[in-house]
Amino acid sequence: MLSIGLSSAISGIDAYTVKVEVDIRRGFPSFATVGLPDKAVKESKERVIAAIKNSGFRFSTERVTVNLAPADIKKEGAAFDLSIALGMLAASGQLPRDILKRYLVLGELSLDGSIRSVRGVLPIAIQSRGEEVEGIIVPEVNKKEAAVVDGVNVYPMKNLREVVDFLSGRAEKGPYKLDVNNEFNRSRKYGLDFIDVKGQDFAKRAMEIAAAGGHNILMIGPPGSGKTMLAKRLPTILPEMTLDESLETTKIHSVIGFVEGKPGLIGTRPFRAPHHTISNIALIGGGSFPRPGEVSLAHNGVLFLDELTEFSHGALEVLRQPLEDGAVLIARAATSVSYPARFMLVAAMNPCPCGYYGDSRRECVCTPFRIQKYMSRISGPLLDRIDLHIEVPAVKYHELNNESTGENSETIRERVQKARNIQKSRFEKSKSIYCNAHMQSRHIKKHCCIDEAGKQLLKNAIDKLGLSARAYDRVLKVSLTIADLEGAKSIVSSHLAEAIQYRSLDKSLWL
């Protein structure tokens, strides 16, 4: 007998429905799975058979064929287990067959029949709205992720027996409901605050500007100067996430399967700090079954690259596309998928190989040639995408105690939010521009008008301070953000003067 059930799978960060067809007929006992299954899907027969038997159902030793349609897309993972098991029960007459078409079923089976978590529940729940189903059956641990989607009935289940009882009408169960706004608000707290950082007023100010304009920032400082500490707190001063942003970000994390056990929505801006040994694929996304990489997991948040110079050359070069487009396109022979990746890049590095160049506590032991070689590991094109570079000095121990702590994150965030509001109305008509950092040359020409005094200042800075002309556009962008923070109508020379201060690497202090 034949049974047809519904399940779902992920391509990119979107889901598509998979029909799970199970056919059981008399013949030589066998179990075949077709429809381009991968190893995990093929192995599901062992889990399914054990789970069926251990849940007290009958498994008839007959000829079983499982087809996962559409048959030409590769299927991966163990999320079809539950659907296959139900299909077999229906095909062997232990469950009404027509009921299966009314639910979208997800879940990996354990040998004892309990249901394990799966990846990508959120995009699947979103996609299920387009199907004519009454609801989706998900593993208990994934219930919150699924329930944040409006207008979908979510039925969380613990084990196979519970599912069968529910489907055959032996047990009543209402859909699981979640107050999305409540859940969203609950997840918005950061554990960190800028008030924890002592001293470093200059660096903090630069961080505020970076946050206000969405600018990428590079911190250069000796070991132990607090670069990581500053970077970790950057998300706390970025504008609060909107529900839409939160859904986007949660969707990507759901595909990876990180959301397990945590609140159903990611309400805080993600902070991703991959180690410098990371491979290109892990950073950017990809693989034979494409997965989002760190850049996409940092979507709407911060990607922090500590020890920037230690990252492989290739890894830094692949960063250029997402920095430019805010998305990653992974093209493979069979498919191509696109992952959103709009993040703020925060990078940190030492000023030289030994780490103490320009440090007042300790003398640097590097030769000029080594320092130069070290600096040249970051390519020009990457540096061109970083608007601010600042030096973060080491704070002396005795200063740590009497340093002022300054403002807390909330106060700074309010200013940042105001500046962002100005930018929002400025770029209302432009597509794909949300903040000053995304401006292209023509936008800079339009929005960054400077007066004569300003032009003179820039000219002086280029002539006298050795500021490279390459810095020109970046300085204009950053000045606009400084003006926005101040609520000023246009850029004046004090804005420019401050902006130039955040171009350490252009001032050719490094020999």
């Binding site: 200059f202 007042s360 000029p368 006298k464 401050e498 350490s504």
Partner: protein
């Protein structure tokens, strides 16, 4: 180009034939022409001329197209000055192993006799940079030509400071003039050729061989009436230059540094051995009479450029700064001004040329 110059040019193409051995040859043969026409076994009678050298010398007549070489030099704007020429630097002529031939890009003028050599470590600290800048600027402003070696660190600062105040400077290379070493000083190289000269005794395309540098150092010290060492660790090329200066009977000066810094070991050693301790340019001109007279004449003519007026807050911040670097956060703390205002004011002061940023977002006064 006359015959002697051409002959010397040929002879200079031989790597191992230095000034001393060439001198020996000239004493024996009288003229360069005779050397080139001599038989190998005759050449070998001269002390220091072995089988290899003698065959290299006698093969010069046939193998090398000197016209082509000269053409190439002319195309690059390089002139050749021999020890027999009138415009050969006087200071250099009086040393015992003065190079017979100099490749010159730029121009050496008679006034370049008033020269002081400024040398030091390639790994200069901001203290050393400031000291080198101050001394070089003060001397160059008073028409003293600054001689150095175009190396990284102190050398670069010495050349740059001289150029920045409109003075003259001479760079002596340890490679041929066709090779700029270190490569990042390419622009500085060009600028020097317009306000002084870049010179070398090595053939056009000779690389920066390790053994060239001690030879180059004797020219640096030989061109100057005195040699100032700013920051040198215990084993340093700058000390070789100082030794050469002593051998040549020139003055040696040393700028003291911190006793905790490795970069002071060499300079302090010199002071212990009797080199004059230098704080500013006056200590130098005091010691060298001819220089002193020249500077005194000119000093009346030098009119200091009036510094731009500083505003109240600018003055407040400027007064906090010294030659010891101060970090921007601590300026902000001491003045109780928000850091963004401080950074705007610092930028203003920097553009006015009163202060300078050093690595670590720190600031010092300019001298």
């Amino acid at each position: 180009m006359d015959e002697i110059t051409g002959d010397l040019l040929k002879l200079s193409l031989i790597n191992d034939l230095g000034a001393v051995r060439l001198n020996n040859l000239l004493e024996y043969f009288g003229t360069t022409r005779n050397i080139l026409q001599a038989k190998e076994d005759e050449l070998r009678r001269i002390p220091g001329i072995g089988k290899k050298l003698s065959s290299q010398i006698s093969s010069l007549n046939s193998g090398i197209n000197i016209e082509k070489e000269i053409e190439k030099l002319e195309r690059d704007g390089i002139s050749v000055v021999t020890v027999y020429d009138k415009n050969y630097p006087v200071n250099l002529k009086s040393i015992y192993d003065s190079p017979f031939i100099l490749y010159v890009k730029g121009e050496i003028i008679p006034e370049d006799a008033y020269a002081v050599s400024v040398v030091g470590t390639r790994r200069a600290t901001s203290y050393g940079r400031t000291a080198a800048e101050r001394i070089s600027t003060d001397l160059a402003k008073r028409n003293v030509t600054i001689v150095s070696g175009l190396a990284r660190g102190i050398d670069t600062i010495a050349h740059q400071s001289a150029l920045a105040c409109g003075g003259r400077t001479i760079a002596v290379l340890g490679s041929g003039l066709g090779v700029c070493y270190p490569p990042e000083n390419k622009r500085l190289f060009e600028r020097i050729t317009h306000n002084g000269a870049v010179i070398s005794e090595f053939p056009l395309m000779a690389g920066p061989e390790k053994r060239n540098f001690p030879m180059r150092n004797r020219i640096i010290s030989g061109l100057g009436l005195g040699t100032v060492v700013v920051e040198a660790p215990a084993r340093s090329g700058a000390l070789i230059t100082a030794d050469a200066a002593l051998e040549q009977g020139r003055e040696v000066f040393a700028v003291p540094g911190s006793v905790f810094s490795e970069n002071s070991t060499g300079t302090h050693l010199l002071i212990k051995q009797g080199a004059k301790l230098v704080e500013d340019y006056k200590d130098i001109i005091e010691e060298i009479d001819s220089l002193g007279r020249m500077v005194l004449q000119k000093d009346n003519a030098v009119h200091e450029v009036d510094d731009e007026e500083l505003t109240g807050v600018e003055e407040k911040i400027y007064s906090l700064l010294s030659l010891e670097p101060v970090q921007i956060d601590s300026i902000s703390r001491k003045t109780e001004l928000p850091v963004k205002d401080v950074s705007i004011i610092l930028m203003g002061l920097e553009v006015k040329g009163r202060i300078r940023e050093v690595p670590g977002k720190r600031y010092i006064r300019r001298v």
